[in-house]
Symmetry: C2
Subunit: 203 residues, 2 copies
């Protein structure tokens, strides 16, 4: 695919610059509307040079997606079965919201891909995402059964957390236009979600 393990300094630097630029452009315009010229320009190099490092537009996109999947799921991996249930879940919400706040481009890239029907990530959704969700859902189900949190459908609880946190990244424009100037969506979201999930989960 691309140059396997960047050896030289130059390779590492350009490899990185391309991925960074591509993230920006793909997140802004989606895969189809993004052009290699835009990415190359954003990365400060010529199109042929860009294609010296990656064999195709698709390859860049794929690299980005698979790199993303990992970091994107980290907040969920950190849910601790031995922690205090409500606090553990609220902490997850906080981590997820913070991630959306700090990585809105990644969130949008993901959103583009899923809305399109996940044409490039179909398999990984089942091999990586699903098992992890099942594992964590089981933990939540246990907490629920033990009466340590209110009764919930664990998987849909997770969907709710994804939906609400990513909403503020993906629909940022809408949120800001409705709130009007002078309000900080993210700070307000943090407080709101704390309340929402607090009430939802209280045993």
């Amino acid at each position: 695919m691309s140059i396997q393990e960047p050896r030289t300094r130059i390779q590492r630097k350009n490899h990185q610059a391309i991925l960074e630029a591509a993230l920006e452009v793909f997140a802004r315009s989606g895969f189809a509307a993004a052009t290699l010229d835009q990415i190359a320009s954003e990365a400060g190099m010529s199109k042929p040079n860009l294609l010296y490092y990656f064999p195709s537009k698709e390859a860049i996109h794929l690299t980005l997606l698979s790199q993303l999947m990992d970091t994107w799921l980290d907040p969920m991996r950190d849910i601790d079965p031995d922690g205090e249930p409500v606090e553990e879940l609220l902490a997850y919400v906080r981590r997820k919201l913070q991630m959306s706040r700090e990585m809105p481009r990644e969130s949008r890239l993901f959103a583009h891909e899923i809305i399109q029907g996940a044409p490039h990530m179909g398999p990984e959704l089942e091999t990586v995402l699903r098992p992890l969700v099942m594992e964590k859902a089981a933990i939540v189900a246990d907490w629920s059964a033990a009466g340590r949190i209110a009764t919930v459908d664990p998987v849909h609880l997770i969907f709710s957390i994804w939906s609400l946190t990513q909403h503020y990244a993906d629909f940022d424009v809408q949120v800001r236009k409705v709130l009007g100037p002078g309000r900080d969506p993210w700070d307000e979201a943090a407080a709101h979600l704390e309340t929402l999930f607090g009430r939802m989960l209280a045993p």
Copy 2:
């Protein structure tokens, strides 16, 4: 723009067929990736004939978006200030979820547009959406102040309802892959959201 008021039967029929086909294609692929040939083919006509009814790809997209905005907000318009607060809001959630369920293509079209930064709907968000949200938020704030529902940020409550209901349409693929076969996302979502907002709003 397009043929203003379709007079003949043929015009009405083809006009409609084009919009229906375009909705399908735009929702599936997004604006940039959609092609006039696809839309024409889906509508059962030739590309030049399609362009006899609409002057450009953009015009079709715009027509679709502005038509959509109206129906999309209907469930919110029906919130009744004189109704029983909790039930009124839960009914809104139900209407919104049902709309996402029955019109997932419209939901995705909308999502595409907003993620891209709402390049075609910027104004309408402020002139149509914002005032309506403000109006309904005021009602919710009153209910809140009167102790008839729990204390909530009204606007973020509305965001939450949008986010959660549309999630099941926009991220349908992901939801289904995680849930696995044999489970009905929509029925489960209905129950889950009933619980979630019930607990959130109980005074």
